[in-house]
Subunit: 337 residues, 2 copies
């Protein structure tokens, strides 16, 4: 099924902190096979905001990941299998998340982070699936406990994670509200199941008022926030009693002044979360939950990542520049062939 | 075992919003027996900060509780048992929490909120036990998941809840750090098991620095915060990865500016919590956990509320005035006889 793994491979390397121009396609040693892992011949990956931050020098790679090769998700065929690994064979079509290194021809992956790619799913779709759907599922379901009939508010709903979360929340029977920076993003989110949406005014103004109106003053039970900053204080004003607030991103800023009395009286849980830095064991848990709850929907096509563009690895810098403009809707996939 | 319940009883009534002088001992109709509850002949209760806020008109009674009779905890004998209640008999010595009304000769209690008073425990001790120990156990264990070998930081450690939490955390095998507004309070907390403590400078300054030094820069895994305000932002600086921050009180203020990036990177959970407003079902769950985990320690004397004073119901206004001075260490019990 698989050719021998060469000693040298192509990789997207961060040559210095900076703009997209610091990225270069380089020949580097291929990753080593560990006893508990596999080496995957990567066919596709996708861009995430963490890749941009890492490139700028603002978000160092977590322990165990390559320091200078970004890429948090992969889809491809298993090339080599570690001595302790059972249940996986060379040639198996797999996808999943890693702490980095996926923007390359080969990536080393802990076996617990492998999930089977559904039959017939094209590589660019598969490469753009794991990070968005595992992040959205882990936040909404595993941590947020989103239940049928509840209301959820999703900030940056036009992003890859936002659109994955919209589909998941609808599948769970929740009512979905969203915010985005353009009407076009809201239109896309509506096409994937969002019930009501708003483009906030300066800062975050108007969000709570809109949500309270949509919900007959009840507010929302869960917030999935990829924006942060002033969005947190504003959104807490419309979280219902026993609500769960999942903070996943901070593009709007890293500090906010919050009303603690509302947090206390309504018994709200404000939870920061991030996948990249988790241990192998925790990534394996999140992957197992994804396989159980999300993979069936991906196999039938009921769930699917939204792709705005596909760029080959040698033009990945163009993808970085495009994601940085904050105008993309959904994911930018990266292909290796 | 028990005399018939009279139609009229004595109660501490809030006659108007204001200082301790608005409290008056009045004859009022005794509470009605519901089919799922009991009426308890109260022998002792205790004061809580919520009683002061309710008296000032700043914290209305929750639905189902008397609007003008404070009192969140009781100890006494069952006087009457509702038609649907099994397992409890008139004369049983019981204690527990209610949404209000315990500063009176009789109180109506949902049967799920009843726990048996350990043999030999004096009434003033029993009356000062439920709120502090249920609050501390629910926050530290049920919500905070405090585990053996973890570190916990307790603000207002000289309070009734603070000293109960100190004893519980020690029993669980945790390392206990604390803050208080006087050296005398820290001394009392040390006597109950606190390892290290500090009196913060202006505002909350110095807390994070002290905690990081005590913990070899590791920080704490759980915070139990009865103070709020600037303490929240300051304390978040010394919460370890995957730490749980339980916000239980707000005497220092209701807003603070927090560092969201730390919340996200360290995957911290900031949770507001309050017992008073919970449903009967939720109070029953918290009571069942208290019976399972805390009652055995209370029965042996390994755990015990710290009493600073005992006042009879007719002098409860003196207790209010004393608690308001913020110099008390532990609980002020109220007796009905």
């Amino acid at each position: 099924m698989s050719a021998p793994v060469p000693a040298i491979m192509r990789a997207c390397v961060i040559t210095a902190p900076g703009g997209p121009e610091v990225l270069a396609l380089r020949d580097v040693p291929r990753p080593r096979l560990g006893p508990d892992g596999v080496v995957v011949r990567v066919r596709a990956s996708a861009l995430n905001r963490a890749d941009l931050l890492q490139r700028m020098g603002r978000y160092p790679a977590p322990p165990g990941a390559p320091t200078d090769i970004p890429g948090l998700e992969f889809a491809g065929e298993i090339a080599e299998v570690g001595a302790h690994v059972v249940g996986w064979e060379p040639g198996d079509r797999v996808f999943g998340i890693v702490g980095g290194g996926a923007h390359a021809d080969y990536v080393a992956v802990h076996a617990g982070s492998l999930a089977p790619v559904p039959d017939g799913m094209p590589w660019p779709i598969a490469g753009a699936t794991p990070e968005a759907f595992i992040t959205a599922h882990d936040a909404l379901v595993t941590q947020g406990g989103l239940a049928r009939g509840e209301r959820v508010l999703i900030h940056a709903i036009g992003s890859g994670v936002g659109l994955a979360a919209t589909q998941l929340a609808r599948m769970l029977g929740a009512e979905v509200f969203g915010t985005a920076r353009s009407a076009a993003k809201l239109d896309a989110a509506r096409a994937h199941g969002m019930h009501e949406g708003v483009v906030p005014m300066d800062g975050a103004r108007g969000i709570a008022e809109a949500v309270l109106a949509w919900s007959n003053e009840h507010g929302v039970d869960v917030v999935l926030d990829l924006v942060g900053g002033a969005y947190v204080a504003e959104s807490l004003r419309c979280v219902a009693a026993r609500g769960r607030y999942l903070l996943v991103g901070l593009v709007a800023g890293t500090s906010t002044t919050i009303d603690l009395s509302r947090l206390l009286r309504h018994r709200i849980h404000l939870m920061g979360t991030v996948l990249r830095a988790r241990s192998s064991e925790e990534k394996a848990e999140a992957t197992a939950a994804f396989v159980r709850d999300v993979l069936p929907g991906l196999a039938t096509g009921a769930l699917s990542p939204v792709l705005v563009a596909v760029v080959p690895l040698e033009r990945i810098a163009e993808g970085h520049a495009r994601l940085e403009e904050n105008a993309t809707i959904g994911k930018i996939a990266v292909t290796m062939d």
